[in-house]
Structures are given as structure tokens and as C-alpha cells.
Symmetry: C2
Subunit: 199 residues, 2 copies
Amino acid sequence: MEQLPSIKLLLKHLQQVPYLASKNLYRVAIHFLNMDENKIQQFCTALQTAKKNITKCEQCFTWKEKSDKCIYCDSLKREKSVICIVETWQELLAIEKTGGYLGLYHVLGGAICPLDGISAEDLTIEQLVSRVKNFGIKEIILAMNQTPEGEATSNYIANKLKDIDVSISCLAKGVPVGSSLEYMDRVTLYKALSDRRPF
Amino acid sequence: MEQLPSIKLLLKHLQQVPYLASKNLYRVAIHFLNMDENKIQQFCTALQTAKKNITKCEQCFTWKEKSDKCIYCDSLKREKSVICIVETWQELLAIEKTGGYLGLYHVLGGAICPLDGISAEDLTIEQLVSRVKNFGIKEIILAMNQTPEGEATSNYIANKLKDIDVSISCLAKGVPVGSSLEYMDRVTLYKALSDRRPF
């Protein structure tokens, strides 16, 4: 395999694709070699078209078609005074799937993590603050991941917004639906106890 | 996501890549969207170059660069009177890694499997027979997978070669190195017992 330069180059590029286990690289390479030249052309065109046509919305930083309006910011059905803040687009999609939220979004692009060299300046926090100031936002929902980095980012944002007249909420912490208490970690269970609700 | 046609098309193409779990498709799509246009170009070029430059050797059916000789068939270091028959290239690579074989190969392109619609005519068995006849081959090693399909293919090939003066061997069946007898299936253990060797 390593003696064939074209395959070696292809493997080098496939290596950079995330979520492709290294033991499967050869198999994927062979899959592509067995494909029609035509199909490969189509695959490449899809890749290049997506790169060319897709950009980030300048307000909420989700992906959008360059020629179209943002499907969240410019939707007529959405409540324009609530912003849900998420780390990345994947979290946004997870929230969208619930069907339980009809406000705006703001994608930070990650969470503050000094160990990985991600500081507040690398995220879209500044743009968020000016959005809250200028667009009459009434509520902010912090929907960061429940990780130390997510918590730190939540605190940072809450601190940045403290002088602005906006209510800030965060997702409820507790026992996930469908799970057994026996297998729950103690911090979650403690949270679920202390945040208990009338039945 | 589904509302953005360029991303939808990209996802459709990514879906066809094997060994890419469907839960990771979005993440891979976003990885590509975050890449430089330049890098995407390089990725596509690598894919197209590999497809353009790589072909199958007309003798042994392994992959080779179109402009080069086959690294197995045309190697001066290899014993030209022994052929090891494998189902696909992955098995060939596994055998190469052992460093214990220095003969020729023959890649069948799969195993006979009527349920999947793969018959003997779909494999390179005919070419193998004429190779054995015309190139003075003295030994054939059947290195098919130890599956019902592999066994059936071995039997079919042995039958096809029965009138030709060539010795046919197959891989030893037994207990894998490093494993406990306790966890071995009974057919393997039976084989290991009946094929026992002087210590």
C-alpha cells in the first residue's frame, strides 16, 4: 500500500477526516477506488459546492446558504426576543429536534478552555453582547454542555451581561428521562434533589 | 440542516462512505465546512488522482500504479512458482504484514456467496486457473477467510485445479497465539486437537 504513491496520498488525506477509525482507512480507500470516476466527481462537486455556498449567519453564526436568508434569524415564526446560546451547531440541532424551542439562537463556536488554547476572544461572545444590547432581547437561555468548560463559559457570559437588562436562565439539571437512580452520579442526583419540583 | 440544499447534498454523499457512522455525518460535514477551500481542493485532487492512476494488475488483481509494474508479480525478490489466493486486498495486506510469505498473490475479489448474488463467475477464478496452467506454478496456498463462504470458495477452486499438476495447501486451523483454551469455540479446539503437531 505504502509503495503506491497515489494511494499513500489518498490515505494521508483520509486520515484527516474525523470519526474515521484508522483501521478502516484502507477499506474506505478501496471503496473509493472501486467507485465510478463519475461518482467520485459528484462527491468532489458536492464537497466543493457546500464549501462555496455555505457561510455563517452574521448574527447567530449558524450555517446558511450564501444566497438565502438565515433560517433562524429571518424566520417569521420565531420569537425575536429570546436567544438560546449553544456551543456548536450540533447542540443547536439537538435542541431543534425537541421541537420545544421557537426563539433565536447564538452559536459560540466552542467553550472557553485555556488548556486547548480557546479563550473568550475566540468565541462569538462580543457579538452576542452587542446583539443583546441592540436588538431588544428580553431573555437569554444558556444551553452550554454540562462540562467544566461549558460552566465556565456560562459564568463568563452571565458576567458580561450583568449590566444589561435581560433575564438569564439555564437548562434544568437533573435525572435524565428513562434512567435509573441507581446508576446516576451523585452530583446529578444532588442537583435533582435540591431542584425538586411540586408533583 | 435539511433546509440547506448544499449541506443536504454533501450529507447524501457522505452517507455512502463506508465505516462512517450516521451519527457522525453531521460532524464530518462541519469538519469539511470548516476546512480551507484550498485543503478541500487538495482532498478532491488526491481522490481523483488515486482513481486515475490506480488500476488492477492483470495477473494477480492487486492494485498497482498505472505507470508502474506490479509490486508483487514483477518483483525480483519473489518466488514465482507459489501463489497465495486471498479474497480481497485487505487479507493480502494482513499476510504481507507477517513478513512470512515471499511468493505471488491472486486476489479473487470476494468469496462465493449465492445469498449475496456472488457466483464463481464474478470472481477471478478463471484467470487463476489459466495462470496456474501457463506459468509453471508449483504450489497454491488457499488463504480464504475461515467462513462458510471462504470454505466453499476453497473447495470450488481445489476442484477446478484437480486435473492440473499443482500442490494445494491451506492455512493451518487451530488456537490463535495468545488466547485461552477456555474461551475457544469447540470446532477450533477440535481442529487444533486433531491437527496436533510434535512438540
